[in-house]
């Protein structure tokens, strides 16, 4: 028997409850903060240093629609493929009431089922060249419908020395304006990632491959040639160092910020 939208949405609400419990166990510190990082190209450092806010991405083609794309602190290497400047902040539990685990096949299957109840956009998604625009609108509509604060998903761009595709997790944090109902109407800078500080500068340079999904590291493979396979899993944890840099920069006053130099 075919499931109705009402059936599917009921299952999605149950999944959101389960996702929230799992997220709490895995990504929320005992003190209630979720620590996150974002890496971006250096040309935007000046702007960041002015307002210390992270950008809400609105680009069609991003995995889970509009929002702030970040990684949890323990998966920081996977974010370094996106730029040299590493910024850290935290999310309060009050901004993480509803989390959706789209890293798990159950979450993905429910989402795929749900979008089939959007006949207009689903048609554009499946039969036109505008798929990435349709995807963006569908994902935003989904997040709006279930007032999702954050979606957890698996990395879908790769580099073997930085990204562990099966075990790393990436987040997209919603920052929809409550005044605007139409999905997709977001703008500017996030209010939900708090007290952002510069904490790391990456020394590696990346180039996107022709397929667009692999970010090749251009320095490390040649500097460390012959020293064994460089893999993301073999890298040391940076949690303590990043936390130390962050704390120092919160109280630095007019002094220049300290930062971790992330070697290739």
């Amino acid at each position: 028997m075919t499931r109705t939208l009402a059936d599917v949405e009921s299952d999605i609400r149950r999944w959101i409850a389960q996702s929230g419990s799992a997220f709490q166990r895995q990504f929320v510190d005992p003190t209630g903060e979720t620590w996150v990082l974002k890496f971006f190209p250096p040309q935007y450092l000046a702007s960041f240093m002015q307002n210390r806010k992270l950008v809400i991405s609105v680009t069609p083609g991003f995995t889970w629609g509009d929002g702030v794309y970040i990684v949890p602190i323990d998966h920081v290497y996977s974010a370094m493929i996106y730029g040299r400047v590493g910024v850290m902040g935290w999310i309060d539990q009050s901004d993480l009431r509803r989390v959706y685990d789209a890293a798990d096949p159950v979450g993905l299957a429910l989402y795929r089922e749900w979008i089939q109840f959007k006949p207009g956009l689903f048609s554009l998604l499946t039969t036109t060249v505008h798929a990435q625009f349709a995807n963006r609108r569908l994902r935003n509509a989904f997040k709006k419908r279930f007032t999702l604060d954050l979606v957890v998903f698996r990395p879908d761009e790769f580099n073997r020395a930085y990204v562990q595709p099966t075990s790393d997790r990436w987040f997209v944090l919603s920052d929809f304006s409550p005044a605007v109902s139409v999905p997709g109407a977001t703008a500017g800078f996030s209010a939900k990632i708090r007290d952002c500080e510069l904490v790391a500068i990456g020394a590696e340079e990346f180039a996107i491959d022709r397929g667009g999904f692999v970010r090749q590291d251009l320095i490390g493979p040649f500097v460390f040639a012959g020293s064994g396979a460089r893999t993301a899993a073999s890298r040391p944890s940076l949690r303590a160092n990043l936390t130390q840099m962050y704390a120092a920069n919160r109280s630095r006053g007019a002094k220049p910020p300290q930062f971790l130099l992330a070697k290739p």
Binding site: T2, T4, L5, A6, D7, E9, F40, P41, Q43, Y44, S47, F48, N51, K53, V55, I56, S57, V58, T59, P60, G61, F62, Y69, Y82, F117, K118, P119, G120, L121, S123, L124, T128, H130, F133, A134, R136, R137, A141, K144, R145, S177, V180, S181, V182, P183, G184, A185, A187, G188, F189, S190, A191, I208, G212
Partner: protein, 214 residues
Amino acid sequence: MIDDLFAELTLQAIDRMIAENATGQSDHALARVAARLTPDRESGLFDPQLMLRLQSAYFSLGVDDLAELSSAVHEWVLEHVAAAVGGWTPQMLATVVTLYFLYPESTLRSAVVGLLLQVEHQAEARERRDEPRTVSIVESIARDDGIDSASRTGALRELGDLALDYVDVFPAEAARSLAAVVSAAPDDQLRTHFLDWADRLGGEAGELVRRAIV
């Protein structure tokens, strides 16, 4: 041609940044433009005069000028600039309706329908209209002598499907649009199509759709 140089350069820049941003390289730059032109809680960069200037230039463009801009730019404008419009004039709404017919088979149509439903929803408290805001699109399709009956039904079904996408966000407005679409259809095909959708939706949404078109 866009007379206002600021508006022309801004729209050109947005077009270029969206095109370049497939890899996220222009994310920050796009956000700064959005923060300047859209009320933004965080940055303090919003300049209402710039927004009004862009709005004024954009909504006075004729169809040929609108066709010079990409669908991605139009979507951006509808989402970011139009979201801040206080009162919608008939001329502005006519521009929005024009956009619906500019790029068939694009998500711009979804953006247009969503915006019209939102305008109707926001106006509901102030003024009760007998007709949904999408009726201009319905009438244009119904009056188009250049298409045959099957194409007309197809065009109306597409509009209805796009309205159905918003039944969870703007339920009353989406239902009114569906009623207008079914009323304009030459036969019962569309009623059957949307009754089938009412069954598939189930729950309150399904009941709402059924009541609107029976």
